[in-house]
Symmetry: C2
Subunit: 411 residues, 2 copies
Amino acid sequence: MTSQTLKGFRDFLPNTMAIRSKVISTLKAVFESYGFAELQTPTLEYAEVLTGKYGEEAEKLMYLFRDPGGRGVGLKYDLTVPLARVMGQYQDLPKPFKRYQIQPAFRAENTQKSRYRELYQCDIDTVGTTSPASDAEILAVISNSLSTLNFSDFTIRVNSRQILFDLIIKSNIPSNKSLTVLQSIDKLDKKTREEVSLELESKQISPLQIKDLFYYLKEAQPDPQFKEIMDLAKKMGAKNVRFDPNLVRGLDYYTGAIFETMVEKPKIGSITGGGRYDQLIKTLGGPDLPAVGTTIGLDRICDVISDLNLWPDLPKSPTRLLVTVFSPELLNNSLSLSQSLRSQNINTELYPDPAVKLDKQLKYASAKGIPFVAILGPEEIEKNTVTLKNMSTGEQKKLPASNLPDELTSR
Amino acid sequence: MTSQTLKGFRDFLPNTMAIRSKVISTLKAVFESYGFAELQTPTLEYAEVLTGKYGEEAEKLMYLFRDPGGRGVGLKYDLTVPLARVMGQYQDLPKPFKRYQIQPAFRAENTQKSRYRELYQCDIDTVGTTSPASDAEILAVISNSLSTLNFSDFTIRVNSRQILFDLIIKSNIPSNKSLTVLQSIDKLDKKTREEVSLELESKQISPLQIKDLFYYLKEAQPDPQFKEIMDLAKKMGAKNVRFDPNLVRGLDYYTGAIFETMVEKPKIGSITGGGRYDQLIKTLGGPDLPAVGTTIGLDRICDVISDLNLWPDLPKSPTRLLVTVFSPELLNNSLSLSQSLRSQNINTELYPDPAVKLDKQLKYASAKGIPFVAILGPEEIEKNTVTLKNMSTGEQKKLPASNLPDELTSR
């Protein structure tokens, strides 16, 4: 057997899962506090469901194959296509349908790029209303999610498709060039104005048009509906939301507001991306339903938390205390102690093998990152005490067994 | 676009997810209280990793295909094979390695059988020790998990490979017939003794051998090591554990104790199955590590909870309260109220569209199963009150806005 994961696929060992698991439970709690409910869809879909939305470029990145029954199937590529299918398949779902979904998606990325081929996506969407309050709510959920995760240094950039197309019209740029021009504008956060100018010139945009474009970009103002979204988002407590006329996202897809979140450090690009897409569900063959939502990049968020050490106190192990076993004869004493602590809501691991030396049991606790160890030898048992060792300080003390729960929860 | 899930695959809509999500969080908490930590492995593995363990029969049930890079890959078939791979790939993991894993596995089942092709598995295993305390702990975790999930009417049947093989030897049945004879014994909980006798005769077992076999089955006694497991399990608080010499599970796989859990109602077979498998990890090409563990059938457990209505009070929606919007001018008042309630840890949904009539907003709450609705009209706002409607009783009352949190948490 090759003891290897496939390239681009990852094992999440317990120490990595600790952060991921807490990120997921934190996000779920925030989403549910706004009334978003969980949806899960299958890993496999009909190939024709998957390939409806994207062009040939994306199809190349999909895991498409024939199942043992000969059906054309594939691994899901994102969470938006399954949402569109769900809206078509269960048309009696109450609207607005507010769902969140946290599941892996699959990309057959080129090996050289060393990107993940299985990535966990986390999407929240509101389907069935065009109300600006639902756009604003997505911004509030993003902001609240990040704050709850202990992020402080983030910016939610927002713009709208209308504002971008207005710029094009005002600058007298022909509409058939709007997409390519906007793709150049999108680079303004990475390239200089001069570099972008040169790029635009190479696209046969005249110096006057470029001058006008930059002028109107600088002077760009939110339109009334967009202002309402910004205003409501603020009232809903969204922090660090900034109008940014340079923001361009997939324009074949979005129909109104667009938004993405950046962090200053580490340099990893956007950690959320979304917007309003009122035509997409219909385009995919689903019902004619407007929608707004965002993807939250779970992998990147976990990376930021690790890199910036945002959760210094997160335990590496779920176990609070390892109860060691002094000798085979004393196994029952250790067993009783661990039972009693567990019933008092302290995650307690009983070392399973009384034949293993105490020293090795302590090393096990240390290797696993268990913060406390209890030692229960003949002396302790006689006096109804326990020796408690703090594994990070090395401090060791004897205390009455009944004091153990308080000692373990107070720290 | 075909708005259809593939046969054998399921969407979990929000009302179904409520139970699943609570089952999973409950199980995780129990597992972690014993020091089991979470592991996740990729959806895809090298085909040769997947096909190492099982015979051709199982390979037919696997989703095996070539990825866009031409590699032979497949969807994971269970959680044991990935565990064996992990133990080989990360040989410095501290032992005993106690992990739980809750992820989907894939079976290309025959369509006629109408079984699930994507099923969520939930496994707990302790790798790296032969100590009976680790077998006992698995039994304790099963019992504690089921009790915490509100199950009462379950039986954990336990037996051991040694006891079964002793019966064969004592009955003078040649060892080359032991597997087929044990397969017949396994049917004793569904067939009568006479039917099983006939089956054994057809397998060329003599009347005397059959008579002896039934005699020794009736008289079978746990051996000392097995007794120790049962004794420790009891001390660890495992309930409803019963020695059952008729229990036979995959014998090519298990090397010691075997266990499975049955519920009386509904009739759905076993909801857990496991045992000790000290050779398997090595057989799969991994390191020589003993292991013991169990699978907990998540789908079946969710079915039992639904069928027996074990959680009558579980809300259908994560939302506790819908704050309606009386008119566009009063949107800000409803927004403020929902903000304030959310900050007091009450899951609050703000109806997003002020243009929709109140009546329709109430119907939305009812369709989604939201238990309470707040109405905030000009009269309420003037007096700083809120009209609260209980959606299940229809009861409606006006109360000071500040009393709302208490009112909503006290019920």
